[in-house]
């Protein structure tokens, strides 16, 4: 790099704690999130492994029932709010959004840093509840169990989630405004990478849904701390109303989690197929459709709750409708491979695994949207399997795909492809071994959140527990080879995958403010079929390497 650019990369800007903790550079904030979210992922994962080990036998012999209840409650709370919801947006999204749209940073860099501090502040509350003795409400906080009967540290956990909600809203506002106001010249909406579209759709959901969760959590905390009874049936409060408010957030929250994953896959598949994304506009618009329709279907969590049958029928109908945009996406991703030149780098493997797992998770959703079948499957392991196929098989797999895809850009280093491919495969095998048996358990009638179970279910539980160990190994491996690549990895070229996104037009790792001159965009995203890509830049803004 030339000495005129001082310092040359954002990583070289200083390594003191202050340079990291007080940074407003979106790329460094992304790292702050990455490190904290990874810690939470493994904390929540450890709880999952403990649960699976406990469930290897029908009797509750490893941990007592209230400990088990705390394990699954905290597993849910940590994984949902301290990993899945912020995961891709706050790490990869934070890092890439400005780079992808040709901006120097997010619209509000200080708000971005503040959102991380709010996140940490909230997570302290949650960690306090873990250390102090746990929460035994389940991640759903259903009233009146959570308000009147639960004996864990419900208030601090709820408060933690409430505070993290602010960080989510901050990120959402920041992303929405950034996409609207900071796109580079020539970067029209339909030239945006799909990842940006999905981040935008996700932000929309974050901003509009999170406050409703906040409201319901406030009411829980008020009831527990101040004795104000809003959901107390003895005063005339309606426990179902809590469920409506909770799922008004928590169903769209599923789309907060999965949409950015879809975005990542939409970047990776074209790159390693050397083909433009099939049906770009349909994929882009279906992201928005998912964000909007996602709000219309929450009642399908409540078919047997006692809500009106009339309402249930409407919610079921709308749930089938929301399946359509997802189906469109799967179709388009598959056809993107057609007539491509496909190579199987680690991130591509993850993306292909995503495709399979997401498809089978999504198809299971049809069973749960079909009213009479859901009556049987609701609150069983079938539901657990379904959402883990979407959330872990879909979202976490996509997250891994993205992490590997942009790792050279994030760090300026290459990792071992062999190790990566092995880890991806181990994860895929472990995942299916863990969660496929749970479909069988659910159909057989095994209820969820059971500490002990009738012995005839043991066969599937043992398979699932064995799978969990394999899955854990699969997730631990990247910690080592990605970690060691930071020190021993080969220097990454600027565009190792020969991809088209604007982010690849910067150096690896990118300079502090991304672009010396704001680039001018002249072509659509995924122009993989245009000739001479390697030589033609979007706009010359960087001196050629010496």
């Amino acid at each position: 790099m030339t000495s005129a650019m001082m310092p040359s990369t954002y990583l070289a800007e200083g390594s003191s704690p202050g340079a990291w903790l007080l940074t407003t550079d979106h790329k460094r904030v992304a790292w702050l999130y990455l490190v904290s979210l990874t810690a939470f992922f493994f904390l929540g994962g450890a709880m999952a492994v403990l649960m699976r080990v406990e469930l290897a036998t029908p009797a509750g012999d490893l941990v007592a029932d209230d400990i088990y209840n705390r394990l699954f409650s905290l597993h849910g709370i940590i994984m949902v709010w301290f990993f899945l919801v912020p995961s891709i947006p706050a790490t990869l999204g934070n890092f890439l959004l400005p780079l992808m749209i040709g901006a120097r940073d997010l619209a509000f860099p200080r708000l971005n840093l503040a959102s991380w501090y709010v996140f940490i502040f909230g997570s302290l509350f949650a960690l306090f509840s873990v250390v102090a003795g746990g929460v035994d409400t389940g991640w759903t906080f259903y009233t009146p169990l959570s308000t009147l009967y639960a004996n864990g540290f419900v208030s601090t956990a709820a408060l933690g989630v409430f505070i993290v909600g602010f960080s989510t809203i901050m990120t959402g506002i920041n992303f929405i405004v950034t996409v609207h106001t900071l796109r580079a010249p020539g970067l029209t909406w339909f030239r945006l990478p799909i990842f940006v579209w999905t981040l935008y759709a996700t932000s929309l959901v974050m901003v509009l849904a999170t406050p409703v969760l906040a409201a319901s959590l406030i009411l829980i905390v008020l009831e527990r701390v101040f004795g104000i009874g809003i959901f107390n049936p003895d005063l005339g409060g309606d426990p179902l109303l809590f469920q409506h408010l909770f799922w008004f957030y928590s169903h769209p929250a599923v789309y907060i989690m999965i949409l950015p994953g879809m975005g990542v896959v939409s970047e990776v598949l074209p790159c390693f197929s050397r083909r433009p994304l099939f049906g770009y506009k349909a994929v882009a618009l279906s992201s928005m459709a998912i964000a909007v329709f996602g709000f219309l279907v929450w009642g399908h969590h409540m078919f047997v709750s006692g809500q009106s049958a009339y309402g249930s029928v409407i919610f079921s109908f709308l749930s089938f409708c929301v399946a359509i945009p997802s189906a469109i996406k799967v179709f388009n991703w598959s056809l993107t491979l057609r007539k491509g030149e496909i190579s199987f780098e680690t991130s591509m493997l993850y993306a292909l695994f995503f495709l399979g797992l997401f498809t089978f998770g999504g198809l299971a959703g049809l069973f749960l949207a079909a009213l009479a079948v859901d009556v049987h499957l609701h609150d069983t392991y079938f539901v657990i399997a379904h959402f883990h196929y979407i959330m872990v098989g879909g979202m976490v797999t996509a997250y891994m795909a993205g992490l590997h895809f942009w790792w050279p850009k994030l760090t300026g280093r290459m990792y071992s492809e062999t190790a990566g491919r092995i880890a991806a495969t181990v994860t895929f095998v472990g995942f299916n071994l863990t969660f496929f048996p749970q479909y069988m358990l659910g159909f057989d009638g095994m209820p969820r959140r059971y500490h002990t179970y009738p012995p005839e279910f043991q066969f599937w539980h043992v398979l699932s527990s064995a799978g969990a160990v394999v899955l854990a190994i699969g997730y631990l491996m990247p910690l080592f080879y990605l970690g060691s690549s930071l020190f021993r990895g080969a220097r990454a070229p600027d565009n190792p995958w020969n991809a088209t996104g604007l982010e690849w037009q910067t150096s690896s790792p990118p300079p502090p403010h991304n672009f010396e001159t704001i680039p001018v965009v002249t072509r659509p995203a995924y122009a993989y079929d245009m000739k001479g890509l390697e030589h033609e830049r979007f706009s010359p803004h960087r001196p050629a390497p010496p």
Partner: protein, 211 residues
Amino acid sequence: MSGTESIVFDSPRREWRADTFAMWVFVGSEAMLFGAIFLVFLFAHIDFGPAFASASKHLSLPLGTFNTAVLITSSFTMALAHMFALHKRWRPAVWSLLATSSLGVCFLVVKGIEYGKEIDEGLAPLLGLPFRYAGPDPVHAEFFFSLYFTMTCLHALHLVGGILAIAGLLAFWPKARPGNRQRRVVAVGLYWHFVDIVWVFMFPVLYLINR
């Protein structure tokens, strides 16, 4: 020209646009928060209309009306501050901001007096305080007062936030460049007006159930 506060924006106009938009998105987000609380109230009202109506009569209508007027006035002075700031008439802008925050404090004081009265009369079903309610259906009247305290406290907290925002704005006022002063007044103003709108709905919903 370096008219922007952040290096991300290449023109002050764009930065202004981003700021205003962000505030509006935030206001929309807040609207969802209060919407959810109003939803809870709506269903309770549908279920226990008569009990709510008689419980509502125990609130002080004069104080509530006075407070509504206070808040409307504060919104007006906030709008004046906005106008003066845009015309770079800094002195009247500062006075308008001071008036706005004083009116906000006034609202809180009156609200505090109301709370005191209600606690004295035994109408506050919180922190284990005795709930002594003479009217019919005390159980659902208690529900009404639960909601009343929840909603008004949440609103009052937002107002405290607004007052702190104005205080912060004034604290950094002398050092701020004209453009930043204007952007901040606009942003704080949008928030302040929103808090006012929330009260505009809360007042009739809580105080004016079939007097």
